[in-house]
Amino acid sequence: MQILVAALIGGCFACAFYLLLRRSLQRVLFGLVLLGHGANLLVFTAAGLVRDRVPIIAEGAKQLSDPHPDPLPQALILTAVVINFAITAFALVLAHRSHVLTGFDTLEEEDERSDD
C-alpha cells in the first residue's frame, strides 16, 4: 500500500514539474495544482498508513487502541488544502487577468523595463 501511494506521489510530482516547465500559463497552473496534491498525499503518507481504522477513542477506553492512524497529519492536510485552494483561486484570477491584459497565454519576458 505504502509503495503504491509513494508511486502515486512520485507520479504527481513528475507530472507537476513537467507542466511547470511548460510555456503555457494554463499548464503551469495545472502543474501547481498537481504539486499541491502530491504534497498533501505526502503529508498523509509520511506518518504511516493504517487501513480501516479511525483515530477515535472508543467509548469507555482511555486511549486509542493499536493499530491506529495518526490524526495529526490529517489535521495538517486539512489546513494545507484550504491554503492551496485559496492560492489556486488567486492564481486562476491572475492568469485570467494576464491573458486579458496581454492576449497571450505564455510566460515570456518581452522587455526589462518596468512600464512606468
Partner: protein, 503 residues
Amino acid sequence: MSAEIVRLWLVAPLLIPLASAVLLLASGRWPRIQRGLSLAGVVALLAVNVWLFTRVLDGGILTLQVGDWPAPFGITLVVDLLSASLLVTASLVGVCVNLYSLTDPEVQREGFTFHPLFQFQMMGVCGIFITGDLFNFYVWLEVTLVASFVLLVMGGRRGQVRSAVQYLALNILSSTLFLCAIAILYGEAGTLNMAHLAERLWLGEEAAAGPAVTVVAGLFILALGIKAALFPLYFWLPAAYPNPTFAVSALFAGLLTKVGVYGLLRLFTLVFVQEVAVTHGVLWGVALLTMLSGTLGALAQRELRHLLSYQVIGHMGFMVLGLGLYTVAGLAAAVFYLVHDMLVKTALFLVAGLVRRLRGTNQLAELGGLYRDAPGTAVLFLVVGLSLAGLPPFSGFFAKLAVVMAALGSGDYLGAAVALAADLLTLLAVAMIWNRVFWQPLPADARGERGEPTRLEMVSVGVLALAILGLGLGAGPALLLAERIAGQLLAPDAYIQAVLGEG
C-alpha cells in the same frame, strides 16, 4: 504585572495587525479614518514589540502555550532575543512604510486594498518570528505570501501582472517544498515543535537522527533558499520587486526575503545541526555565490529599482555566510546584518520612490542633478547608500566588519575575500547611483514629469536614516547583544527548557 499576564501579551503582535485589518476593511469607505487607523495599528504594534523586547532582555525567553495545550502537542509561541529584535525591526520598518504610503497617490487610489493587506502582511511576518512550531511557521509563511500576491498586483498594470505570475509560481513551489519537508520530518521525528524536534533529533538522550534528516535539511535549504532569493533561485526577485508601488516594494525588500533568512537561522541552529559539515557547508557555498552574483548583477542594471533588487540578493549572501560559518562570531554577524539590512533595504526603495516623485522616472539614463535640486533627498540617499556600501560610521560598516572578522576568525579566507569583493562591487554600485542620479547634470532629453515629495515621505525615510545612523553609532552594544543572541542560538538548552520545561 505577573508573569502569566506578560505571557498573554505574546499574542498581541498577531492580534493587533489582525484587529487593524478587520477594522480597516470595515472603514474602507472613509479613507481618512482608514489611514489614521492603519498608522495607529502599526504604531501600537511597534510599541508592544519594543515592550516585549525589553521584557525578554531582562527576564529571558517568553513562551505561551496557545489554548493551554502543553508543549509538544499544542502550538507554542516563543519570543527569544532573536525573535524580539526582529519583531522590533520589522514593526519599525512597518511604521516607516506606512508613513510613506499615507501621501502616496498610487496607494490612495488603491487605499481600500492596500492598508488591510499591509496589516495582514505584518501579521504574517510577526507570526513567523513568534511561532515555535514548524507547521505554524508554514501557515504564517502562506499568510505573508497571499498578502504579498495581492499587494504585488495592486494597480493591475501589465508589467505587474506578468512579474506576479513568475513570483506566484516560484513561491508556491517553495511553499510546497516546505510542506513536503515538514511531512518527511514529521515521519522521521514524530513531532513538529521545533524545541521538541531538537531534543528528538540531536540533544536528548535517545536522539537518533537518520540520514533522511539530512535530506530533509536539504529540502528546507531549497525551500527557504527560494524565499530568501539565494543563488541560483533568485530570478523571481528582480522580476517582481521593481514593479509594484514604491511603498510595497520597500515593504517586500525589508521583510519578505528576510523571513527566509530568519527561517534558515532558526532551523539550522536549533533543528538541523547533525551534519554541520554538509548542511552548513552548502549554505556557505551558496552564500558566496549569492554575494557575487547579486552585486555583479546590480552593476548591469539601468533602472534604479532593478539595481536595488540585485543589491537585495547580493546582501542576503552576507547573512547566510555568517550562518554557514556556524560560530558565535558568525551568527552574531548574521543577526546584526539582518537587522541592518531590513532597515537599509526599506530605506533604499523608499528613496527610489522619492527620486521617482522628483523626476517622474527611475531610468538611470534620464536622471541627474538631484544634488542641486533636492539636497534633502541627496543627503538621505548618502546616509543609506554609504551604509549599504559599508562605510563608517553607518551600520553597514560594522555589519560587514563583523562578517569579515567572523570569516577570518574561523580561518575562512575565501569567504572573507569574497565578502570584501562583494562589498567593493556594492560601493561601485552606490557610486554609480550617486553619479548618475545626484551628481551629474540632468540630461537635456529628460522627459519625466517632475514633482515634489511630501513632508511625510521625507520624514519616513528620515526616521529610517536616523535608525541606521543610530545602529552605526551604537554598534558596540548592538554587537554585544548580537553575540548574546548568537550564544542563545548555539546553546539552545534555554530555548528548549522554556518551551518544554513546564509541559
